[in-house]
Amino acid sequence: MAKKVPQINASSMADISFLLLIFFLVTTSMDVNQGLARRLPAPIPPDQKVEDTDINKRNLLVVKINSANQLMVQGQLTDVKQLREKAKEFIKNENDDAYMPKLFEEDFGAPIGVVKYTKEHVISVQNDVDTRYQSYLDVQNELVAAYNELRDECARKYFHKGYNELEEDQQKQVQKVYPQKISEAEPKNYGGN
């Protein structure tokens, strides 16, 4: 005769899972880890003298933030909201202006082909010791946004797709047209204690 297996009492299962649920609610945090990714330049060896890198003045976009969190772009007081447009204009230099970075012609391979681009442009960000972190990040954010927008435009023009939808090697191709060149100077004390 087959023995009947007694049914397991599962009424406490709900309590156990409630306990687990509450444990996880308490120990975890909802915030996702996201941030503005940047890359620092490699350190200068101590025995090497700091050389003044010779950057042609027209290739340089100087962005300064002072201790009162005001923004100075190429010697002009600017609002953060205008920085993106200014940076884009500078990186592209569509009209080949004399005071904007020099244009170089290069073949980037199909389907981009030969395109003029500002190979040697550099955006230099300089900030004061007393600058607020948020203001600094605003500037970084706008500059990264400028590059992202340009790359997206480029991707749409040649690949008819957004930059984020491209394959990895296609993204690299686009990156070559708009290389990200944001340089950060050592902090100095500009005006105002």
């Binding site: 945090s29 503005l36 620092l40 909201k81 948020q134 600094y136 992202n148």
Partner: protein, 156 residues
């Protein structure tokens, strides 16, 4: 004619709760997948700055955090209200960062060492002086991949 029944004892049928554990488990798994474990107990308080061009930090095991902010209320008596750095579970000085990075890197797998990312979680009101010092320390320790932790900006 319908009879109005009153004061008549009728037993309520027992609610079937056999699916309750399944529902709770579902909730549990949902929370497990959308949340992340707290890395440390915060000894400094900070409010992330806002930005729009954010990227997600992919592999948790490759990320190390540096917290910058003012000490929380319970530590204020001991450490003052000046901006401080926290590494793991303890307050630290700028000069400790290099050693910390080297130690953390050597505890990683060899093929992962080059991929280490340092996430700087600093209060938005922090002065740039201390951030610049941290960056210099990170450069010296060859921790060049960094990420400024920020939250998505919703309005200007």
């Amino acid at each position: 004619m319908a009879k109005i029944r009153r004061n008549e004892k009728r037993e309520m049928p027992a609610l079937n709760t056999s699916s309750l554990p399944d529902i709770i488990f579902m909730l549990l798994f949902f929370f497990m997948s959308v949340t992340s474990m707290k890395e440390v107990t915060y000894k400094v308080q900070f409010q992330n700055p806002q930005a729009t061009e954010l990227t997600k930090l992919e592999k948790k095991s490759l990320v190390r955090y540096i917290y910058v902010g003012t000490p929380t209320a319970e530590f204020r008596k001991q450490y003052g209200a000046e901006t401080r750095i926290q590494l793991d579970d303890a307050f630290a000085e700028k000069s400790d960062i290099g050693e910390y990075i080297v130690n953390e890197r050597s505890s990683m797998k060899e093929q992962d060492q080059g991929l280490m990312t340092v996430s700087i979680k600093a209060d938005k009101e922090t002065r740039m002086g201390i951030i610049a010092d941290i960056k210099q320390e990170l450069r010296r320790a060859y921790a060049l991949k960094i990420s400024y932790a920020a939250t998505q900006r919703t309005n200007y």
